[in-house]
Protein backbone atom coordinates (compact mmCIF):
# COMPACT_ATOMS: atom_id res chain seq x y z
CA UNK A 1 0.00 0.00 0.00
CA UNK A 2 1.45 3.34 -0.95
CA UNK A 3 0.42 6.94 -0.63
CA UNK A 4 2.92 8.33 -3.09
CA UNK A 5 1.32 10.11 -5.97
CA UNK A 6 2.63 11.08 -9.33
CA UNK A 7 2.55 14.83 -9.35
CA UNK A 8 3.21 15.12 -13.07
CA UNK A 9 -0.10 15.98 -14.71
CA UNK A 10 -0.96 13.53 -17.49
CA UNK A 11 -0.26 15.39 -20.68
CA UNK A 12 -2.56 13.92 -23.32
CA UNK A 13 -5.85 15.67 -23.69
CA UNK A 14 -7.36 14.53 -26.91
CA UNK A 15 -10.65 13.51 -25.29
CA UNK A 16 -13.39 15.27 -27.19
CA UNK A 17 -16.05 13.38 -29.08
CA UNK A 18 -13.51 10.77 -30.21
CA UNK A 19 -12.68 10.14 -26.57
CA UNK A 20 -16.33 9.69 -25.69
CA UNK A 21 -16.75 7.22 -28.56
CA UNK A 22 -13.60 5.35 -27.47
CA UNK A 23 -14.94 5.14 -23.92
CA UNK A 24 -18.28 3.76 -25.12
CA UNK A 25 -16.50 1.28 -27.37
CA UNK A 26 -14.39 0.10 -24.41
CA UNK A 27 -17.49 -0.27 -22.25
CA UNK A 28 -19.41 -2.24 -24.87
CA UNK A 29 -16.67 -4.80 -25.46
CA UNK A 30 -15.68 -5.19 -21.82
CA UNK A 31 -18.89 -7.03 -20.95
CA UNK A 32 -19.56 -10.53 -22.16
CA UNK A 33 -23.27 -9.89 -22.76
CA UNK A 34 -22.35 -8.10 -26.00
CA UNK A 35 -20.96 -11.36 -27.42
CA UNK A 36 -23.92 -13.38 -26.16
CA UNK A 37 -26.35 -10.93 -27.71
CA UNK A 38 -24.62 -11.15 -31.08
CA UNK A 39 -24.52 -14.94 -30.87
CA UNK A 40 -28.21 -15.01 -29.99
CA UNK A 41 -28.91 -12.73 -32.95
CA UNK A 42 -27.05 -15.13 -35.25
CA UNK A 43 -28.98 -18.14 -33.95
CA UNK A 44 -32.36 -16.39 -34.19
CA UNK A 45 -31.59 -15.20 -37.72
CA UNK A 46 -30.50 -18.66 -38.84
CA UNK A 47 -33.51 -20.35 -37.25
CA UNK A 48 -36.02 -17.81 -38.58
CA UNK A 49 -34.57 -17.72 -42.08
CA UNK A 50 -34.49 -21.53 -42.15
CA UNK A 51 -38.06 -21.78 -40.93
CA UNK A 52 -39.37 -19.23 -43.41
CA UNK A 53 -37.46 -20.95 -46.19
CA UNK A 54 -39.14 -24.26 -45.32
CA UNK A 55 -42.56 -22.56 -45.43
CA UNK A 56 -41.76 -21.00 -48.79
CA UNK A 57 -40.59 -24.32 -50.23
CA UNK A 58 -43.56 -26.25 -48.82
CA UNK A 59 -46.06 -23.73 -50.10
CA UNK A 60 -45.12 -24.74 -53.63
CA UNK A 61 -46.93 -27.89 -54.63
CA UNK A 62 -46.24 -27.74 -58.33
CA UNK A 63 -43.72 -30.38 -59.28
CA UNK A 64 -42.23 -28.22 -61.94
CA UNK A 65 -40.65 -25.08 -60.56
CA UNK A 66 -40.03 -23.79 -64.05
CA UNK A 67 -43.68 -23.00 -64.70
CA UNK A 68 -44.41 -21.78 -61.21
CA UNK A 69 -44.53 -18.19 -60.06
CA UNK A 70 -43.88 -19.31 -56.48
CA UNK A 71 -40.13 -19.00 -56.68
CA UNK A 72 -38.96 -16.54 -54.06
CA UNK A 73 -35.69 -14.72 -53.73
CA UNK A 74 -33.52 -15.58 -50.76
CA UNK A 75 -33.52 -11.86 -49.95
CA UNK A 76 -37.27 -11.81 -49.41
CA UNK A 77 -36.91 -14.61 -46.87
CA UNK A 78 -34.21 -12.61 -45.14
CA UNK A 79 -36.44 -9.53 -45.11
CA UNK A 80 -39.17 -11.49 -43.33
CA UNK A 81 -36.78 -13.02 -40.81
CA UNK A 82 -35.93 -9.53 -39.53
CA UNK A 83 -39.26 -9.63 -37.68
CA UNK A 84 -37.70 -11.82 -34.98
CA UNK A 85 -33.98 -11.25 -35.47
CA UNK A 86 -34.33 -7.56 -34.71
CA UNK A 87 -35.14 -8.18 -31.04
CA UNK A 88 -31.72 -9.68 -30.34
CA UNK A 89 -30.01 -6.80 -32.12
CA UNK A 90 -32.01 -3.99 -30.57
CA UNK A 91 -31.16 -5.41 -27.15
CA UNK A 92 -27.63 -4.23 -27.87
CA UNK A 93 -28.70 -0.61 -28.27
CA UNK A 94 -31.11 -0.87 -25.39
CA UNK A 95 -28.61 -2.33 -22.91
CA UNK A 96 -25.96 0.24 -23.83
CA UNK A 97 -27.94 2.77 -21.81
CA UNK A 98 -30.33 0.90 -19.50
CA UNK A 99 -27.49 -1.15 -17.97
CA UNK A 100 -25.89 2.16 -16.96
CA UNK A 101 -28.99 3.11 -15.03
CA UNK A 102 -29.28 -0.32 -13.43
CA UNK A 103 -25.66 -0.43 -12.27
CA UNK A 104 -25.34 3.26 -11.42
CA UNK A 105 -22.45 3.77 -13.85
CA UNK A 106 -24.46 6.49 -15.61
CA UNK A 107 -23.16 8.83 -12.91
CA UNK A 108 -19.55 7.91 -13.72
CA UNK A 109 -20.28 8.33 -17.42
CA UNK A 110 -21.80 11.78 -16.94
CA UNK A 111 -18.99 12.74 -14.59
CA UNK A 112 -16.51 11.93 -17.37
CA UNK A 113 -18.62 13.54 -20.08
CA UNK A 114 -21.10 16.07 -18.69
CA UNK A 115 -22.63 16.77 -22.10
CA UNK A 116 -25.66 14.47 -22.25
CA UNK A 117 -26.03 14.94 -25.97
CA UNK A 118 -22.42 13.92 -26.57
CA UNK A 119 -22.77 10.78 -24.45
CA UNK A 120 -25.90 9.67 -26.28
CA UNK A 121 -24.49 10.49 -29.72
CA UNK A 122 -21.31 8.54 -28.92
CA UNK A 123 -23.44 5.59 -27.83
CA UNK A 124 -25.44 5.86 -31.06
CA UNK A 125 -22.24 5.90 -33.13
CA UNK A 126 -20.89 2.83 -31.32
CA UNK A 127 -24.24 1.02 -31.50
CA UNK A 128 -24.51 1.65 -35.24
CA UNK A 129 -20.84 0.83 -35.81
CA UNK A 130 -21.39 -2.57 -34.19
CA UNK A 131 -24.89 -3.46 -35.37
CA UNK A 132 -24.38 -2.55 -39.03
CA UNK A 133 -21.42 -4.89 -39.66
CA UNK A 134 -23.10 -7.43 -37.40
CA UNK A 135 -26.20 -7.03 -39.57
CA UNK A 136 -24.15 -7.77 -42.70
CA UNK A 137 -22.85 -10.93 -41.05
CA UNK A 138 -26.30 -11.93 -39.87
CA UNK A 139 -27.65 -11.29 -43.36
CA UNK A 140 -24.94 -13.57 -44.70
CA UNK A 141 -25.90 -16.23 -42.18
CA UNK A 142 -29.56 -15.91 -43.12
CA UNK A 143 -28.77 -16.24 -46.84
CA UNK A 144 -26.49 -19.22 -46.29
CA UNK A 145 -29.18 -21.02 -44.31
CA UNK A 146 -32.16 -20.08 -46.47
CA UNK A 147 -30.62 -20.70 -49.89
CA UNK A 148 -30.10 -24.51 -49.59
CA UNK A 149 -33.43 -24.95 -47.79
CA UNK A 150 -35.29 -23.15 -50.58
CA UNK A 151 -33.57 -25.37 -53.11
CA UNK A 152 -35.18 -25.14 -56.52
CA UNK A 153 -37.91 -22.85 -55.16
CA UNK A 154 -35.47 -20.10 -54.41
CA UNK A 155 -33.30 -17.75 -56.40
CA UNK A 156 -30.38 -15.64 -55.31
CA UNK A 157 -29.52 -13.04 -57.91
CA UNK A 158 -26.16 -11.61 -56.82
CA UNK A 159 -27.02 -7.90 -57.04
CA UNK A 160 -30.49 -8.28 -55.53
CA UNK A 161 -29.25 -10.41 -52.66
CA UNK A 162 -26.43 -8.00 -51.89
CA UNK A 163 -28.94 -5.16 -51.83
CA UNK A 164 -31.20 -7.15 -49.50
CA UNK A 165 -28.36 -7.96 -47.09
CA UNK A 166 -27.31 -4.31 -47.07
CA UNK A 167 -30.89 -3.23 -46.37
CA UNK A 168 -31.15 -5.88 -43.63
CA UNK A 169 -28.04 -4.49 -41.90
CA UNK A 170 -29.23 -0.91 -42.27
CA UNK A 171 -32.62 -1.78 -40.81
CA UNK A 172 -31.03 -3.49 -37.79
CA UNK A 173 -28.61 -0.63 -37.11
CA UNK A 174 -31.45 1.92 -37.22
CA UNK A 175 -33.69 -0.13 -34.97
CA UNK A 176 -30.82 -0.56 -32.47
CA UNK A 177 -30.31 3.22 -32.37
CA UNK A 178 -34.07 3.67 -31.96
CA UNK A 179 -33.92 1.29 -28.98
CA UNK A 180 -30.99 3.25 -27.53
CA UNK A 181 -32.81 6.57 -27.68
CA UNK A 182 -35.95 5.08 -26.19
CA UNK A 183 -33.88 3.39 -23.44
CA UNK A 184 -32.33 6.75 -22.53
CA UNK A 185 -35.80 8.22 -22.14
CA UNK A 186 -37.40 5.30 -20.27
CA UNK A 187 -34.33 4.06 -18.32
CA UNK A 188 -35.75 0.59 -17.68
CA UNK A 189 -34.85 -2.27 -20.02
CA UNK A 190 -38.17 -4.04 -19.57
CA UNK A 191 -40.26 -0.94 -20.10
CA UNK A 192 -38.26 -0.02 -23.18
CA UNK A 193 -38.65 -3.49 -24.62
CA UNK A 194 -42.41 -3.41 -24.05
CA UNK A 195 -42.70 -0.05 -25.80
CA UNK A 196 -40.54 -1.33 -28.66
CA UNK A 197 -42.58 -4.50 -29.19
CA UNK A 198 -45.71 -2.36 -29.19
CA UNK A 199 -44.29 0.18 -31.62
CA UNK A 200 -42.64 -2.28 -33.98
CA UNK A 201 -45.29 -4.97 -33.99
CA UNK A 202 -48.45 -4.89 -31.90
CA UNK A 203 -49.80 -1.42 -32.65
CA UNK A 204 -49.24 -1.51 -36.44
CA UNK A 205 -50.58 -5.08 -36.62
CA UNK A 206 -53.71 -4.06 -34.75
CA UNK A 207 -54.13 -1.08 -37.07
CA UNK A 208 -53.80 -3.28 -40.16
CA UNK A 209 -56.13 -5.98 -38.85
CA UNK A 210 -59.48 -4.48 -39.92
CA UNK A 211 -57.96 -3.53 -43.32
CA UNK A 212 -59.35 -0.03 -43.34
CA UNK A 213 -57.50 2.34 -45.66
CA UNK A 214 -57.04 5.11 -43.14
CA UNK A 215 -55.74 2.77 -40.45
CA UNK A 216 -53.42 1.10 -42.95
CA UNK A 217 -51.98 4.50 -43.84
CA UNK A 218 -51.34 5.22 -40.18
CA UNK A 219 -49.69 1.82 -39.73
CA UNK A 220 -47.46 2.59 -42.71
CA UNK A 221 -45.94 5.41 -40.68
CA UNK A 222 -44.74 3.10 -37.90
CA UNK A 223 -41.01 2.26 -37.87
CA UNK A 224 -41.37 -1.49 -38.27
CA UNK A 225 -43.82 -1.21 -41.18
CA UNK A 226 -41.74 1.52 -42.82
CA UNK A 227 -38.68 -0.66 -42.36
CA UNK A 228 -40.46 -3.60 -43.97
CA UNK A 229 -41.44 -1.54 -46.99
CA UNK A 230 -37.78 -0.52 -47.24
CA UNK A 231 -36.56 -4.12 -46.90
CA UNK A 232 -39.03 -5.45 -49.44
CA UNK A 233 -38.08 -2.74 -51.92
CA UNK A 234 -41.74 -1.79 -52.23
CA UNK A 235 -43.08 0.98 -54.44
CA UNK A 236 -46.47 1.09 -52.74
CA UNK A 237 -47.63 2.87 -50.55
CA UNK A 238 -44.37 4.77 -50.90
CA UNK A 239 -40.95 4.05 -52.45
CA UNK A 240 -38.45 2.00 -50.45
CA UNK A 241 -36.30 5.08 -49.90
CA UNK A 242 -39.18 6.77 -48.07
CA UNK A 243 -39.48 3.73 -45.83
CA UNK A 244 -35.79 4.09 -45.02
CA UNK A 245 -36.21 7.79 -44.27
CA UNK A 246 -39.21 7.13 -42.04
CA UNK A 247 -37.29 4.53 -40.05
CA UNK A 248 -34.27 6.82 -39.77
CA UNK A 249 -36.58 9.61 -38.68
CA UNK A 250 -37.92 7.43 -35.88
CA UNK A 251 -34.36 6.66 -34.75
CA UNK A 252 -33.41 10.35 -34.73
CA UNK A 253 -36.61 11.28 -32.90
CA UNK A 254 -35.91 8.62 -30.25
CA UNK A 255 -32.38 10.00 -29.77
CA UNK A 256 -33.75 13.52 -29.39
CA UNK A 257 -36.26 12.27 -26.84
CA UNK A 258 -33.50 10.43 -24.95
CA UNK A 259 -31.25 13.48 -24.96
CA UNK A 260 -34.02 15.70 -23.61
CA UNK A 261 -34.72 13.20 -20.83
CA UNK A 262 -31.03 12.90 -19.92
CA UNK A 263 -30.67 16.66 -19.76
CA UNK A 264 -33.80 17.32 -17.78
CA UNK A 265 -33.82 14.50 -15.27
CA UNK A 266 -31.37 13.99 -12.42
CA UNK A 267 -28.98 11.11 -12.96
Amino acid sequence: MTTTLTTARPATRSGGFGGTVAAEWTKLWSVRSTWWTLLAAALVTAATAGQLAIYAANANTNDDPADDAGIVTVGSVLASSVELAQYAVLALGLLAITSEFTSGTIRTTLQCTPSRGRVLLAKAVVTAAVTFPAGLLLGGVGVLVARPVLGEWGSAPAAGTARDVLAFATYLALVAVLALGLGAALRSAVLTLVVLVATLMIVPLSLQEPDIAVLNRIADGFPGVAGNHFLAGDTDPYPAAVGLLLLAGWAVAALALGRAALRRRDA
Binding site: L5, T12, K27, S33
Partner: protein, 310 residues
Protein backbone atom coordinates in the same frame (compact mmCIF):
# COMPACT_ATOMS: atom_id res chain seq x y z
CA UNK B 1 -11.99 25.59 -5.06
CA UNK B 2 -15.64 24.70 -4.82
CA UNK B 3 -18.17 27.50 -4.56
CA UNK B 4 -21.76 27.00 -3.47
CA UNK B 5 -24.11 29.95 -3.70
CA UNK B 6 -27.62 29.64 -2.34
CA UNK B 7 -27.62 26.03 -3.49
CA UNK B 8 -31.09 24.54 -3.06
CA UNK B 9 -32.65 21.25 -4.06
CA UNK B 10 -36.26 20.28 -3.57
CA UNK B 11 -37.73 16.89 -4.35
CA UNK B 12 -41.45 17.41 -4.48
CA UNK B 13 -42.37 18.86 -1.12
CA UNK B 14 -39.13 17.99 0.70
CA UNK B 15 -36.19 20.33 0.74
CA UNK B 16 -33.06 18.19 0.58
CA UNK B 17 -30.60 21.06 0.39
CA UNK B 18 -31.61 24.47 1.66
CA UNK B 19 -29.85 27.65 0.54
CA UNK B 20 -26.30 26.43 1.04
CA UNK B 21 -23.58 29.07 0.63
CA UNK B 22 -20.08 27.76 1.26
CA UNK B 23 -16.57 28.12 -0.15
CA UNK B 24 -14.38 25.03 -0.01
CA UNK B 25 -10.81 26.21 -0.25
CA UNK B 26 -7.71 24.43 -1.56
CA UNK B 27 -4.86 23.17 0.54
CA UNK B 28 -6.90 21.54 3.24
CA UNK B 29 -9.31 18.74 3.96
CA UNK B 30 -12.82 20.06 4.39
CA UNK B 31 -15.09 17.62 6.15
CA UNK B 32 -18.73 17.53 5.12
CA UNK B 33 -20.63 16.34 8.11
CA UNK B 34 -24.25 15.65 8.76
CA UNK B 35 -26.62 12.94 9.88
CA UNK B 36 -27.96 10.47 7.34
CA UNK B 37 -30.41 12.19 5.02
CA UNK B 38 -28.95 15.64 5.73
CA UNK B 39 -28.35 16.31 2.04
CA UNK B 40 -24.63 15.58 1.76
CA UNK B 41 -24.82 13.29 -1.25
CA UNK B 42 -27.37 15.50 -2.99
CA UNK B 43 -25.04 18.46 -2.55
CA UNK B 44 -22.15 16.50 -4.01
CA UNK B 45 -24.28 15.34 -6.93
CA UNK B 46 -25.22 18.94 -7.68
CA UNK B 47 -21.54 19.95 -7.62
CA UNK B 48 -20.94 17.25 -10.24
CA UNK B 49 -23.85 18.40 -12.38
CA UNK B 50 -25.71 15.12 -11.86
CA UNK B 51 -28.66 16.70 -10.08
CA UNK B 52 -30.01 20.04 -11.21
CA UNK B 53 -30.29 22.60 -8.39
CA UNK B 54 -33.78 23.97 -7.81
CA UNK B 55 -32.06 27.29 -7.09
CA UNK B 56 -28.57 28.62 -6.64
CA UNK B 57 -25.28 27.56 -8.16
CA UNK B 58 -22.49 25.09 -7.58
CA UNK B 59 -19.18 26.02 -9.23
CA UNK B 60 -15.88 24.20 -9.49
CA UNK B 61 -12.94 26.46 -10.20
CA UNK B 62 -15.49 29.17 -10.97
CA UNK B 63 -17.40 27.17 -13.58
CA UNK B 64 -20.47 24.94 -13.52
CA UNK B 65 -19.48 21.29 -13.85
CA UNK B 66 -21.58 20.76 -16.96
CA UNK B 67 -19.38 23.28 -18.81
CA UNK B 68 -16.11 21.44 -18.14
CA UNK B 69 -14.52 19.98 -21.27
CA UNK B 70 -12.21 17.48 -19.58
CA UNK B 71 -13.73 17.19 -16.12
CA UNK B 72 -11.46 14.39 -14.91
CA UNK B 73 -8.57 16.85 -15.06
CA UNK B 74 -10.52 19.33 -12.95
CA UNK B 75 -12.47 17.30 -10.42
CA UNK B 76 -12.08 13.75 -9.19
CA UNK B 77 -14.99 12.24 -7.32
CA UNK B 78 -15.93 9.08 -5.54
CA UNK B 79 -19.68 8.98 -5.12
CA UNK B 80 -20.84 5.40 -4.99
CA UNK B 81 -18.33 2.57 -4.66
CA UNK B 82 -20.89 0.07 -5.95
CA UNK B 83 -21.42 1.93 -9.21
CA UNK B 84 -19.62 -0.47 -11.51
CA UNK B 85 -21.16 -2.73 -14.14
CA UNK B 86 -21.45 -6.21 -12.58
CA UNK B 87 -19.71 -7.86 -15.54
CA UNK B 88 -17.04 -5.26 -16.23
CA UNK B 89 -13.56 -5.51 -14.74
CA UNK B 90 -12.21 -2.70 -12.62
CA UNK B 91 -9.45 -2.07 -15.12
CA UNK B 92 -11.89 -1.78 -18.05
CA UNK B 93 -14.02 0.56 -15.95
CA UNK B 94 -11.01 2.84 -15.38
CA UNK B 95 -9.85 2.49 -18.97
CA UNK B 96 -13.21 3.67 -20.29
CA UNK B 97 -13.06 6.64 -17.92
CA UNK B 98 -9.52 7.47 -19.04
CA UNK B 99 -10.39 7.28 -22.75
CA UNK B 100 -13.35 9.62 -22.33
CA UNK B 101 -11.03 12.40 -21.19
CA UNK B 102 -7.94 11.54 -23.18
CA UNK B 103 -6.05 10.37 -20.11
CA UNK B 104 -3.17 8.09 -21.21
CA UNK B 105 -3.83 4.41 -20.58
CA UNK B 106 -0.66 3.96 -18.51
CA UNK B 107 -2.23 6.27 -15.95
CA UNK B 108 -4.72 3.47 -15.20
CA UNK B 109 -1.87 1.28 -13.96
CA UNK B 110 -0.48 4.16 -11.93
CA UNK B 111 -3.71 4.84 -10.06
CA UNK B 112 -4.34 1.12 -9.55
CA UNK B 113 -0.92 0.91 -7.89
CA UNK B 114 -1.65 4.02 -5.86
CA UNK B 115 -4.81 2.54 -4.37
CA UNK B 116 -3.20 -0.85 -3.86
CA UNK B 117 -5.23 -2.94 -6.33
CA UNK B 118 -3.07 -5.57 -8.01
CA UNK B 119 -3.58 -7.05 -11.48
CA UNK B 120 -5.72 -9.87 -10.19
CA UNK B 121 -8.06 -7.59 -8.27
CA UNK B 122 -8.29 -5.19 -11.23
CA UNK B 123 -9.31 -8.05 -13.53
CA UNK B 124 -12.23 -9.17 -11.38
CA UNK B 125 -15.74 -8.37 -12.59
CA UNK B 126 -17.60 -5.66 -10.72
CA UNK B 127 -20.09 -7.99 -9.07
CA UNK B 128 -17.30 -9.81 -7.19
CA UNK B 129 -15.71 -6.68 -5.74
CA UNK B 130 -16.01 -6.17 -2.00
CA UNK B 131 -17.18 -2.77 -0.76
CA UNK B 132 -13.62 -2.00 0.28
CA UNK B 133 -12.25 -2.89 -3.14
CA UNK B 134 -15.00 -0.82 -4.72
CA UNK B 135 -13.95 2.15 -2.60
CA UNK B 136 -10.36 1.75 -3.73
CA UNK B 137 -11.45 1.49 -7.35
CA UNK B 138 -13.59 4.61 -6.94
CA UNK B 139 -10.66 6.51 -5.43
CA UNK B 140 -8.47 5.31 -8.32
CA UNK B 141 -11.04 6.74 -10.74
CA UNK B 142 -11.03 10.05 -8.88
CA UNK B 143 -7.24 10.27 -9.17
CA UNK B 144 -7.12 9.44 -12.91
CA UNK B 145 -6.82 12.99 -14.21
CA UNK B 146 -4.66 14.13 -11.27
CA UNK B 147 -7.23 16.85 -10.55
CA UNK B 148 -6.81 19.84 -8.22
CA UNK B 149 -10.24 19.24 -6.67
CA UNK B 150 -11.29 15.93 -5.13
CA UNK B 151 -14.57 14.88 -3.58
CA UNK B 152 -15.20 11.71 -1.64
CA UNK B 153 -18.59 10.59 -0.38
CA UNK B 154 -18.11 8.40 2.69
CA UNK B 155 -14.78 6.99 1.47
CA UNK B 156 -13.96 4.84 4.49
CA UNK B 157 -17.20 2.83 4.33
CA UNK B 158 -16.36 -0.85 4.10
CA UNK B 159 -12.63 -0.41 4.52
CA UNK B 160 -10.62 -2.41 7.01
CA UNK B 161 -8.64 -0.48 9.68
CA UNK B 162 -5.58 -0.55 7.43
CA UNK B 163 -7.60 0.90 4.59
CA UNK B 164 -9.12 3.56 6.82
CA UNK B 165 -5.65 4.70 7.87
CA UNK B 166 -4.55 4.68 4.26
CA UNK B 167 -7.48 6.88 3.14
CA UNK B 168 -6.71 9.30 5.96
CA UNK B 169 -3.07 9.58 4.90
CA UNK B 170 -4.04 9.90 1.26
CA UNK B 171 -6.36 12.83 1.96
CA UNK B 172 -3.81 14.58 4.13
CA UNK B 173 -1.15 14.17 1.47
CA UNK B 174 -3.49 15.32 -1.32
CA UNK B 175 -4.39 18.41 0.70
CA UNK B 176 -0.69 18.93 1.42
CA UNK B 177 -0.12 19.17 -2.32
CA UNK B 178 -2.44 22.17 -2.35
CA UNK B 179 -5.55 20.39 -3.62
CA UNK B 180 -9.11 21.02 -2.54
CA UNK B 181 -10.35 17.99 -0.63
CA UNK B 182 -14.04 17.74 0.19
CA UNK B 183 -14.98 14.60 2.06
CA UNK B 184 -18.32 13.66 3.52
CA UNK B 185 -18.92 11.46 6.49
CA UNK B 186 -21.43 10.79 9.17
CA UNK B 187 -18.60 9.57 11.42
CA UNK B 188 -17.54 12.43 13.61
CA UNK B 189 -14.50 10.59 14.96
CA UNK B 190 -13.28 10.10 11.39
CA UNK B 191 -13.55 13.80 10.66
CA UNK B 192 -11.74 14.69 13.84
CA UNK B 193 -8.74 12.75 12.55
CA UNK B 194 -8.78 13.94 8.93
CA UNK B 195 -10.39 17.31 8.47
CA UNK B 196 -8.99 20.80 8.96
CA UNK B 197 -12.29 22.49 8.45
CA UNK B 198 -15.86 21.39 8.81
CA UNK B 199 -19.02 22.12 6.92
CA UNK B 200 -21.87 20.75 9.00
CA UNK B 201 -25.38 20.43 7.60
CA UNK B 202 -28.62 19.13 9.00
CA UNK B 203 -31.85 18.82 7.05
CA UNK B 204 -30.08 20.46 4.15
CA UNK B 205 -29.28 23.60 6.07
CA UNK B 206 -25.83 24.93 6.94
CA UNK B 207 -25.17 24.55 10.66
CA UNK B 208 -21.48 25.34 10.81
CA UNK B 209 -18.65 26.28 8.48
CA UNK B 210 -15.51 26.72 10.56
CA UNK B 211 -12.14 25.26 11.48
CA UNK B 212 -12.59 22.00 13.29
CA UNK B 213 -11.12 23.35 16.55
CA UNK B 214 -13.66 26.15 16.53
CA UNK B 215 -16.55 23.77 16.04
CA UNK B 216 -15.43 21.75 19.01
CA UNK B 217 -14.74 24.84 21.15
CA UNK B 218 -18.05 26.37 20.19
CA UNK B 219 -20.05 23.51 21.55
CA UNK B 220 -21.48 23.62 25.04
CA UNK B 221 -18.60 21.85 26.69
CA UNK B 222 -18.98 21.63 30.43
CA UNK B 223 -15.99 21.38 32.73
CA UNK B 224 -16.41 19.91 36.18
CA UNK B 225 -14.27 21.58 38.85
CA UNK B 226 -13.86 20.15 42.37
CA UNK B 227 -11.87 21.67 45.19
CA UNK B 228 -11.63 21.00 48.95
CA UNK B 229 -11.35 24.79 49.50
CA UNK B 230 -14.86 26.38 49.39
CA UNK B 231 -13.54 29.92 49.66
CA UNK B 232 -11.04 29.34 46.90
CA UNK B 233 -13.77 27.76 44.75
CA UNK B 234 -15.96 30.85 45.25
CA UNK B 235 -13.09 33.12 44.24
CA UNK B 236 -12.47 31.00 41.17
CA UNK B 237 -16.17 31.17 40.29
CA UNK B 238 -16.04 34.98 40.50
CA UNK B 239 -12.99 35.19 38.26
CA UNK B 240 -14.56 32.82 35.73
CA UNK B 241 -17.81 34.75 35.66
CA UNK B 242 -15.85 37.96 35.15
CA UNK B 243 -14.07 36.26 32.22
CA UNK B 244 -17.42 35.54 30.58
CA UNK B 245 -17.89 31.92 31.53
CA UNK B 246 -21.08 30.50 32.98
CA UNK B 247 -20.63 28.96 36.38
CA UNK B 248 -23.12 26.82 38.23
CA UNK B 249 -22.59 25.27 41.63
CA UNK B 250 -23.04 21.53 41.37
CA UNK B 251 -22.50 20.71 45.05
CA UNK B 252 -20.71 22.08 48.11
CA UNK B 253 -17.28 21.47 46.59
CA UNK B 254 -18.10 21.37 42.90
CA UNK B 255 -18.71 23.73 39.99
CA UNK B 256 -19.91 23.16 36.45
CA UNK B 257 -18.31 25.64 34.06
CA UNK B 258 -19.28 26.28 30.48
CA UNK B 259 -17.63 28.76 28.15
CA UNK B 260 -14.09 28.27 29.40
CA UNK B 261 -11.61 25.55 28.58
CA UNK B 262 -10.14 23.22 31.19
CA UNK B 263 -6.72 24.74 30.43
CA UNK B 264 -7.96 28.23 31.22
CA UNK B 265 -9.70 27.15 34.42
CA UNK B 266 -6.58 25.32 35.57
CA UNK B 267 -4.42 28.38 34.92
CA UNK B 268 -6.80 30.61 36.89
CA UNK B 269 -6.92 28.17 39.80
CA UNK B 270 -3.15 28.14 39.84
CA UNK B 271 -3.04 31.96 39.88
CA UNK B 272 -5.48 32.04 42.80
CA UNK B 273 -3.66 29.29 44.62
CA UNK B 274 -6.72 27.06 44.72
CA UNK B 275 -6.12 23.34 45.07
CA UNK B 276 -8.15 21.28 42.61
CA UNK B 277 -9.18 17.67 43.03
CA UNK B 278 -10.90 17.42 39.72
CA UNK B 279 -10.83 19.33 36.46
CA UNK B 280 -12.56 17.33 33.79
CA UNK B 281 -14.11 18.40 30.52
CA UNK B 282 -17.25 16.54 29.52
CA UNK B 283 -18.18 15.92 25.96
CA UNK B 284 -15.27 17.94 24.62
CA UNK B 285 -15.27 16.18 21.32
CA UNK B 286 -16.50 16.68 17.84
CA UNK B 287 -19.03 14.01 18.65
CA UNK B 288 -20.55 16.26 21.28
CA UNK B 289 -20.31 19.37 19.12
CA UNK B 290 -22.00 17.51 16.33
CA UNK B 291 -24.82 16.33 18.56
CA UNK B 292 -25.38 19.89 19.75
CA UNK B 293 -25.40 21.25 16.21
CA UNK B 294 -27.65 18.65 14.73
CA UNK B 295 -29.92 18.02 17.70
CA UNK B 296 -32.85 19.72 15.98
CA UNK B 297 -32.18 18.48 12.51
CA UNK B 298 -31.96 14.73 12.69
CA UNK B 299 -34.24 13.32 10.06
CA UNK B 300 -34.77 9.93 11.61
CA UNK B 301 -34.64 10.36 15.36
CA UNK B 302 -34.62 7.19 17.39
CA UNK B 303 -37.91 6.48 19.12
CA UNK B 304 -37.67 5.46 22.80
CA UNK B 305 -38.88 1.90 23.05
CA UNK B 306 -39.90 2.01 26.72
CA UNK B 307 -43.61 2.69 26.44
CA UNK B 308 -44.23 0.54 23.44
CA UNK B 309 -47.20 -1.78 23.47
CA UNK B 310 -46.86 -5.14 21.90
Amino acid sequence: MITLRGLTKRFGGTTAVDDLTVDIAPGRVTGFLGPNGAGKSTTMRMILGLDRPTAGRALVGGRPYRELRHPLYEVGALLDAKAIHPARSGRAHLLAMARSNGVPARRVDEVLATVGLDDRAAAKPGRTLSLGMGQRLGIAGALLGDPPVLMFDEPVNGLDPDGVRWVRQLMRSLAGQGRTIFVSSHLMSEMQLTADRLVVIGRGRLLADAPITEVIAGSAVAVRVRSPQPAGLAALADRLTAAGATVEPAGPDELTVTGATADRIGDLAHELGVRLHELSPHGASLERAFMDLTADSVEYAGVPTGGETR
